[in-house]
Amino acid sequence: MTNSDINRLKDKAFHIFGIFCTFIGLVVLAIFLFDIVVEGVGRINWDFLTSLPSRRASRAGILTAWVGTLWILVLTTLIAFPLGVSAGVYLEEYAKKSRINNFLEINIANLAGVPSIIYGLLGLEIFVRQMRLGGSLLAGALTLSLLILPIIIVTTREAIKAVPRSIRDGSYALGASKWQTVWNQVLPASFGGILTGIILALSRAVGEAAPLIVIGALAYVPFTPSSPLDEFTVLPIQIFNWTSRPQEEFLTNAAAAIIILLIITFMLNGIAVYLRNRQQKKIKW
């Protein structure tokens, strides 16, 4: 066998190995999904979506859980969006290179990697105890906002960075101030990217159970929340709760709830992908 034959063989071998590696994750995920769907899909019906939780598995529904999740989504967006985008804009457009700003930047990058339960503990101390919000929706949303802020800041900065220098120059050259340039040119041009980042961050927040459990979100809430200060539950907590029950029927309920949760996250991701594609198509620098 010549040298080039050996090389070709190596090439081929890695090719096959690569395919194997790529598929391993997908296959596991597929098996998991298949298992869940088989178990839970039969349980999903109108009653399941519109019933309050119950001690009896066959009558229990996820109304409070998904309404809670929706509340959390909206509140978290309202809190994290302006904060994260403003911080991103500041760091990218206004901040001069100084030690403080360097320090801030490094820490924001680090924060994105902090385990979510730690955020939960932080939320418990600050929002639940110090601010006396209790285990309310607001406390939960604030905690999740903290969790996703670093992600939003980082993606906002990336999106802003992708706006070419020439657009800013064009705006400045016409006499625009920094704020006018950011507001009229940079943000609209990077909005698709920012939105994509926020949606991906939210889809992470939707799946979080740990920090909310820590701040005291309850699995059993017999009513749907009507104000941000009400107690609440969310889908992941409901699922967590059901899976820890001994009865077989609750496991089926959990599987059904997981399907709903997955649908919500897939939808969010889908919207993000759609927005990103549209942005790419619309603007060619």
């Binding site: 001069k96 290179k97 070419p164 020439s166 657009i167 120059d169 064009g170 705006s171 400045y172 050259a173 016409l174 006499g175 625009a176 101030s177 006018q180 009229n184 040119q185 609209p188 041009a189 619309k282 603007i283 060619k284």
Partner: protein, 253 residues
Amino acid sequence: MGKKTKLEAIDLDAYYGDFHALKSINIAMEEKAVTAFIGPSGCGKSTFLRTFNRMNDYIEGFRTEGQILIDNKDIYQKDVRVDELRKNVGMVFQKPNPFPKSIYENVVYGLKIQGVKKKSVLEEAAETSLRRAALWDEVKDKLHKSALALSGGQQQRLCIARALAISPSVLLMDEPASALDPISTAKVEELIYELKNDYTIVIVTHNMQQAGRVSDYTAFFYMGELVEFNKTKTMFTSPKDERTQNYITGRFG
């Protein structure tokens, strides 16, 4: 010369941090004439161009010494407001950089940020500027379509229209045709020739023929120094400095 001096630099030095980018430049440019800046890359011609609308202010570590006068007023004085300055000194860039908005929005952007809201005023300004930039006939039916759908040459003329809309008296052009095909280049050059009746134009170019075709005066920069400044005719037929001669005949280095 006899005509009025519009733009002037007196003992101007410019630095990027430690780098001495412009070395005691002295020049006086005539009103309503086209002055071309030529010279090899990195010779400081773009830097110098950008001192006239203070676009260098955003670059960290950039500073100037000496004076830049527009209509005999030093624009680096503390009481000069940069946004006011840029209303008077328009700029067109190397690469066409229309905003990712409609053609109309692009043209009226300068007026809108000045706070002009009246639709009739904006629409009139848009039409006038587009006509001046010889673009009106090509775009009048699609004013509200995206500017990014225009061809490169049209985009550049749109950028010129955008600059004209805020009625400046000076137009700075940083290699305005270097990213365009020959036909579009010719159109932009024709436009410059037309516009010099009303505007004082300074154009940076790498294209020697372009400098010859469009400019009345030419300034040759080399290593941050103004080597020679003269009528373009004189510069292109009998330059005084040997470095100028070598550069314009393509025998550099």
